[in-house]
């Protein structure tokens, strides 16, 4: 049995990579190592960027598992229940109608629609919550490095620590460290 705090922790949000430094990395393997290092260095605000999901990265970054499926479960079930109750109410009390000698509450006939509604609600809630947690929809957002969506990898460090400290931290893993413009400050 999982505690709600855990679930809450599993619903962490994306934070904008503004301010601080971005270190570009050569390969996925390096990125894993880099993430490890940054985590060990105890950096609070940091994030990794890659063109594709990398297995083990969340462990390396020390992120807790995503609890999106929990939302799916809740909405899915409620969708099914709402649908079934609605049909029951309509067919039995609001306007009872005789169909081919079937009882008014012909529950087996309600099952397909109940099922479909479960799926519908589940799926849309899942997508919705993902968009929300991933803060997707902010189309003005730019990638930290342009090549990220093609073949580049990068680590963003938001904490206020010096460039060379970062260089030390990621010794040999990065090829350059760029300062990211912070709209607030500039």
């Amino acid at each position: 049995m999982v505690s709600f705090s855990e679930i809450k922790k599993g619903l962490f949000r994306y934070e904008e990579a503004v301010g601080g430094w971005v270190a570009t990395i050569k390969s996925a393997a390096d990125l894993l190592k880099a993430a490890e290092k940054v985590k060990e260095a105890g950096v609070k605000k940091f994030d990794c960027f890659s063109p594709f999901p990398i297995h083990g990265l969340e462990k390396a970054m020390g992120l807790s598992r995503s609890w999106v499926p929990f939302i799916t479960l809740i909405f899915g079930l409620s969708g099914g229940v709402i649908g079934f109750l609605l049909m029951t109410w309509i067919e039995t009390s609001d306007w009872p109608v005789l169909h081919g000698g079937k009882p008014l509450w012909a529950w087996p006939a309600f099952i397909p629609i109940t099922f479909e509604l479960t799926i519908l609600f589940g799926a849309f809630s899942t997508v919705g919550v993902t968009l929300y947690l991933g803060r997707l929809g902010k189309i003005s957002r730019k990638p930290v490095v342009n090549s990220i969506t093609s073949d580049g990898f990068a680590v963003w460090i938001g904490d206020s620590i010096g460039k060379d400290e970062i260089a030390k931290m990621l010794d040999g893993l990065y090829d350059e460290i760029i300062e990211t413009p912070d709209p607030e400050r500039s």
Binding site: H99, G100, G101, K102, P103
Partner: protein
Amino acid sequence: MNANSEKGNMWRSVEAKERQKYEVEKASPNEFPAAVTELIEKGFNYSLDRKKFLTIMGASLSMAGINCAKQPAEKIVPYVFRPPEAQPGIPVHYATARVNHQGVLPILVKAREGKPIKIDGHDEHPVSKGAMTADGFAGIWELYDPDRLKTSAEKTSADFSDIDTATAIAKAVEIVKGASNVRVLSRASYSPSEKKAKSSFLRARGSRTQVVYDAGGNQAQLFAGEAKSYGSAIIPQYRFDKADLIVSIGADFLGTWITPEVYTKQHSSRRNPDKNMNRLVVAETMMSLTGANADTRFPISAGTHLVFALGLAKQLLSGSAYANNASVKKAVAPYTAEKTAAITGVDATQIKSIAKELKKKKGKSLVVAGGTNTLDGDLGSIQVVANLINSILGNDGKTIEHNVPLLEKGDFSSPAELAKLIDDMKNGNVDVLILDRANPVFDLPAESGIREAIKNVKNVIAIADHKDESASEANLVIAASHYLESWNDGYSSGVYSVAQPVIRPLFDTQSVGEIWLQLAGLDSNYYNFIKDDNAGSYLTGSLNIAFEKALSDGFFVARRGGSSSSRKFKAGALSSIKAPTEANSGLTLTLYESVQIGDGINGNNSYRHELPDPITKICWENFVAVSKADAQSNGWRLGDLLEVSREGRSIKAPIYIQPGLKDGSVALAIGYGHESIGSVGDGVGANAWTLAGFSKNGSTFDGLSVEIKKVESGYRTATTQRHHDMHGRGLVRHAPLSDYKENPKAGSIEHDLHLPGRGLYPVHDYSILAEGKGTYKWGMAIDLSKCTGCSACVISCYSENNIPVTGKDEVWRGREMSWMRIDRYFEGEIENPTAHFAPVMCQHCENAPCENVCPTNATQHSPEGLNDMAYNRCIGTRYCSDNCPFKVRRFNWFEQWEGKIADPAQYALNPDVTVRGRGVIEKCSFCVQRINEQRQMAKSEGRKIEEKDLKTACQQGCPADAIVFGDIGNKETMARAQWDLERGYRMLDEVNVHPRVKYLTRIINQG
């Protein structure tokens, strides 16, 4: 100008007995007094109203979803004086009669807002007892036929120009005055007044002026035969209800012969297996309705009806009063059982056995013969033989009542006179020829040469309702009214009927009576003429009161018939008879009358054409019926178009392979093939009179030897039923009487023994869920022993429920709209099969498959067990129709009404039934409009519906009383009684749909 108007106050309904005064003239300057109430403004001009109504209908149908969207502002035009019984929305019934060349048909006309919308049988009539045929019901559309003459016409130079009828008549009078040699060619008339009016015209011009002919020949043949054999030209009353054994030789008395509706009622009254059931034996060539209903049927070769009769007579002769009569002996001598068998193709032993049966039933049997299909060129010969047989059996006076005949004073002229007239016309000896509702060019055998002859007549005056083949040859066409528009009277089987107009003439027409009065130079008030000069000789008591009564009742019984002494048979009549002495070789044709078209005088009625032929289920066509063997030997297949030719004349018609037709025999229906009768009838089928023979002894319709060749294949014949085999599914169940006597459930088949039990759901109990107290449980029982398949119910349903006609192509596609159809199946070997009929309409299944699958709730079940159909909720998925095991649901593939019906056809629509638009499903509703009307009345009077008040259209239409509808939840009702009979079964009960229609197994009396 028109008698009806002043005499409007005479109109009566059987319901409203007390007398009220119409102020028709005051009501409005318009033609339709009652029509104006509560009708949209456009209605004021009759040429628009209902059509506009339909436009709005169409609109609102398509706007049903957004229910009351803005509708065009409608106007309400009330009466100036409202006659108390004319309450808007409440129908008025008028008792009247259809008097025409076929005889007198007592009818009850239902009128709404002054417009007749339905014709029904007159239940109170002593003879007809409310019996009707499809032919009778179809009359309503003839009244509203858009192609009817709207006014008279005169031929100036080449083509016609319209003139109003009054002038036309005046002109006619002028023409006749001047002319020396005036002749009248007309169809029979059974209206005393009409005859009298006419005779006062003829008197001045000698007896031979008028020639009356019979296109179909049924009646002329009977009159002639009776005259020869008993001396008086009458048509006796055949009492099929009194006979235990009926032998019919070619006479289709259940379908087309003389008065089929009456005969059907009488016959069916004896088809109850629980009470001394009668037995019907039929010998005929083409399978007729009667033959299809026979307990035993003998297919005989074309042209041998007379031989069969003689053969039968010979068998019966020994030991009878006529045994030693020389001329009788001489006549029947050649026709030994073997000889007869050789010629007719019937088994000799069968002839003997029938004779034996007849001998057992002396005085309790009835032998009828005749009909178009037996006319062999010697008018009445077969009747003479039939009469001989009846006299031998002593049926005359018992099962044949002659003291009060069905029709008397048959005014038919002899074939010789007709031939003479045609000669005179050819030689130009006729100055003026008046055609009284006669269409000789169409319905006289082409051999008579009438087509050429009529061209040599200087002046042809046609009294007609259509510009038909003959009328278009005329110089002057006088437009005659429909029988629902005109006063008339009729006399048949001792009953005097007064026919009252139910609506003023839609067009500038006059009733035939008026026209003749004027031609005779008398006062044109036909109403007075009927009342003062004629009624008196039939009515008893004070004329005024008696006439009033006759008017409100629709009839007055002048003389009562009954059994009487038998007449003396004149054996001399037999001397002239010549019958074939050996079997005919090659293909031999017999022409017959079809149930739906008859002699074709109403050939412009689309509903008649849409009604499938009861036997072959083919519509919009007549066809060449051939036997399977002939088809195979000649390499003909279904879908071929054949050319039938005789003596240089030929017609083309599609093939139909008719089971139960003797090899070498070919059959073809008359009445089709109009060239100019109207937009509907023109070019439908082929005119079979082209092939008929004509001589001064009478026309030949039977035993014509013909050549047939195939001219085209892949011809599309419209039919409503393509399969004739029941595949042993026990749909129409039947059992011999003997079996039934032992086991009342005889005929039921094994699979009802293991009916499925409950399915996923518990069985629904309607008696419990029925809302409220004043509830009913509607159900129907159909007795297949009584049902003859005559299709009267189908037409009645068409008329009641605004069912559209779709036309040949759509029927061919399988898109006919009929809410109820008559399934016809053949069983047994193809040479002589048994035919079975079953009327199938929506079965209102308690577990209706259609309801479960409709996504929009357009069809659902009423607590009373009706399968409701809400057209305006239907979106047309057609899933219900797919899932209907009976396939009784019809889909509107195209718009059937809006812009499709020509004025004034829209008046025939029943305002109580929604006119369906395009794209919705429709089906039988058990006439829910009638149920609701009764329910509303009952409710407002705080009582329950009484069974006598409520009849479905089909029940009302059934002359055989085979259909019973009612509250099967109530132990007292007739419906319940029938429903509970052990004979009953539900069609496709194994599908577990629990229909609310029960069929009673057909019991066949195999003697």
